[in-house]
Symmetry: C2
Subunit: 268 residues, 2 copies
């Protein structure tokens, strides 16, 4: 496959959370066109088995590859954790997940090399963050915790109220006593809960957002491969979803700082 | 199609919540064999569009009909609310939802004819409970409220802690001031939150569980059509799920009072 600079970048996610990655990519790479796919008919992935997540991720990737993307970004942490090796083997183009960039950013931020990871049940069960951190620095200490309720809290818009605080306390109290100085927000929804999470972790713990780290790694990769878009080209952004767009459109603004691009429903 | 008494009853749900209906049916109709299908690979339905829920419900029903069930029970409130007319048209066998039995039970319980309904976003948006109640008694006053976080709370096992209480307060405080004397738990997961919900509604409000009402209606229908199982036949129960069974099996005991029947993974 010939990869061209003017081709779009393909980003997919289990649903809406990947818009935090889309927003970071647009901020950092304003000349790049983007096709975004949210699998809203089958969301969430975080509670499902590796086998099912790999199957769904492959279908999402195939949809974007058919539309001529030059690179794939797996914005969903659960899909990154379970499906990245399979996607790299199955598709003949660069595939960028969120786990590796998140780990690199966390190691850079942590002085004590003592890092916490929070994510969906699937992401934590996969131990993708733990094993990637250890492969980058065998001396690092990692503690991880699944926080399944954080995704529905964000989707409900309860990002800074007493329910979010009570859930954060339940999930994070144990983590705080482990002596970590850095916490990876290992799910695209979690940056929206930053206030509650930061309050419970205290000032001594740096929060690392994989979305921002992922956009940085994507830029490096595009430049290294010589497939970055030329400045001056008019960039475009289009969103696809597998369920009807209305609910997606009504929540999207929480994740985006600009206007929501056009959204089209597709079947996978 | 010839319906036979010894054929099994087919029950389907978006996932695990329908086991509350399964448990009621087994308690009330111990001679009946049952095939249960939980669409765990695509759960939840409650946040998805009518169009997608109807498509999924049709696939679930077809799976059970192919296996020779004599009657279909739509245990999922969202699927009952959106897909019942379509399923009744598409399949040549009796189809029983949870909305109508729940409404009948609520009208019987309410002296003031002032009824509250809580359910998923989809169930409430469909207004299936509201319009069914009004069709049964035009004088009834209905107030309804979507409680999207209740399902993930139950799946997390947080059914009686401070997070469940904080969420119940948020959702139910407004409802309490509406003067209702009966509240329909319009989602199969909600009976597990009965303690929290009852605390917030107070003693003056009767809680109606659609699962129990549904099993009663099913019994009536089987008897009326002459397709109830003969007492003395050895009844069997088998569960099917669309994702790997492990997570389902690990939560199922919360919904069942007996041992979990065998679970098989299937593709729809």
């Amino acid at each position: 496959m010939v990869l061209r600079g003017q081709s779009p970048i393909g980003i997919f996610d289990s649903g809406i959370g990947g818009l935090t990655v889309l927003a970071e990519v647009r901020r950092r790479l304003p000349h790049e066109s983007i096709l975004y796919l949210g699998d809203t008919a089958r969301v969430p992935y975080g509670t499902k088995s590796a086998e099912t997540v790999v199957r769904y991720a492959r279908q999402c990737a195939a949809f974007l590859v058919e539309r001529g993307v030059k690179a794939l970004v797996v914005a969903c942490n659960t899909a990154s954790a379970y499906a990245l090796p399979d996607l790299c083997k199955s598709f003949d183009l660069p595939v960028q997940g969120v786990v590796e960039p998140g780990c690199r950013a966390a190691l850079a931020a942590s002085r004590k090399k003592s890092i916490g990871v929070i994510g969906t049940a699937g992401t934590i069960a996969s131990n993708a963050y733990g094993s990637t951190l250890k492969s980058m620095d065998p001396s690092v200490m990692v503690v991880s915790r699944a926080c399944p309720l954080f995704v529905p809290l964000v989707e409900e818009g309860w990002i800074d109220n007493e329910v979010a605080d009570a859930a954060a306390r339940r999930y994070l109290d144990g983590l705080g006593s482990e002596g970590i100085d850095t916490l990876i927000l290992g799910c695209t929804h979690y940056p929206l809960l930053k206030n509650s999470i930061a309050r419970h972790m205290g000032k001594g713990v740096a929060l690392v957002d994989s979305a921002a780290a992922c956009a940085g790694s994507l830029e490096e990769m595009l430049v290294k491969r010589g497939i970055a878009a030329e400045p001056g080209l008019a960039s475009q952004c289009h969103l696809y979803v597998t369920d009807l767009p209305s609910r997606f459109e009504s929540i999207a603004h929480r994740f985006l700082d600009k206007e929501t691009p056009p959204v089209t429903r597709v079947d996978l």
